[in-house]
Symmetry: C2
Subunit: 205 residues, 2 copies
Amino acid sequence: MEVLSKPDGASVATTAAPDANRRGDIIRAAGRLFHQKGYNGTTIRDIADAVNMRSGSPFYHFKSKHEILFTVTTEGIEVMLRNLEMVIARQQPPRACFEACVITHMNYLLGPGRDFAWVMLYESRLLDPTERAVVHCMSARYEEVFSAVLDRLVASGDLRDASAIARKLILGAINWSAQWYDENGASDPQAIAQQLCALVLREKN
Amino acid sequence: MEVLSKPDGASVATTAAPDANRRGDIIRAAGRLFHQKGYNGTTIRDIADAVNMRSGSPFYHFKSKHEILFTVTTEGIEVMLRNLEMVIARQQPPRACFEACVITHMNYLLGPGRDFAWVMLYESRLLDPTERAVVHCMSARYEEVFSAVLDRLVASGDLRDASAIARKLILGAINWSAQWYDENGASDPQAIAQQLCALVLREKN
DNA sequence: TTGTCAAGCAAGCAATTGCTTGGTAAATTA
DNA sequence: TAATTTACCAAGCAATTGCTTGCTTGACAA
């Protein structure tokens, strides 16, 4: 038996992972790389390198590169939707509810979920139609829930218009922040969220 | 002379272009394809096909694929900046000036400049640092000019806040419209622009 | 001890990629 | 008419791509 033989120095420790979740490592690394260089600009070898694997090994966990993109994308939108629903469950008055929604959205978008959210917003269009339909369905659900929050704002007189276009414009201002936000900059996600509220909401009496 | 000989069916008319500007054809086709499939998802062969060339021919007009991206990008931002300055030269009162700026911006972003603007907004980050610096410089100039428009709005009492963040949020709402605008949909760029004005400006009188 | 399994490696294949080269027909200029 | 230039093609090269295959290793179970 060749148990002790090491044919060459390249054979590294196979049990390098104390934490068992290598699949999670892959989607986190993929998220970061897709964010940095785009889906098509990132190779399987990039991802494998980032988690100290050889280029064929990710295919043990995912059946294709596309499936990695799909997993990263849905991870992003799922967390956002869950967060939103948790905030709404608090049953605050309209204005406070809206502010909390925006803060939560931005905290994830600019914080721990940066990569996932980015990939969802900007790379999911590269999925094939079937997969994209799933993602689209989930973001439609997000918008639907968000829409109800806006409706209550109109009812309470804090917002003039909750039409589909107004909704898209507000969500646009929020989502675009991922483009310019600088985590070393002066303002944090919460401050930006509050600025947005001040921009679109009526002045408090 | 072999004027009339056609050695094989593949030899197509070499002088197929009545309009001489094949370079322009390439950047328009590249813009469209970069918009559809992203920079890295588009091959030189895709671009060449779109303008009825063979895969090596675009390199007669551009020294690299990167240079095509750079050209498409700067085309986008240059036009937008020129448009903005033309609007401002009209010297309208603050509110009318702002509305005109937004309408002009959106008319280009969602109309004839769709592809160029999109590439500028979403693909220019794939340029190398030197080229990206040029693009960044031009968009900074755009924001600077736009900022002056916002300052006048604050002075006239039509806007509460013209801070850097407020500016980014407003421009974000505008630019994000490229993501969801449907040219077959109910509302046109001008209507969307007016909705945005209604959203961020104080009510008249 | 023996067998099974999760996890990953080493090697490489077929296709695709950006780009180069040498040539050529037509238009333009001298 | 002769020389040059413009614009392009045909062919292909070297590198990279996503992915497959057969095998190894350590952990655990019977």
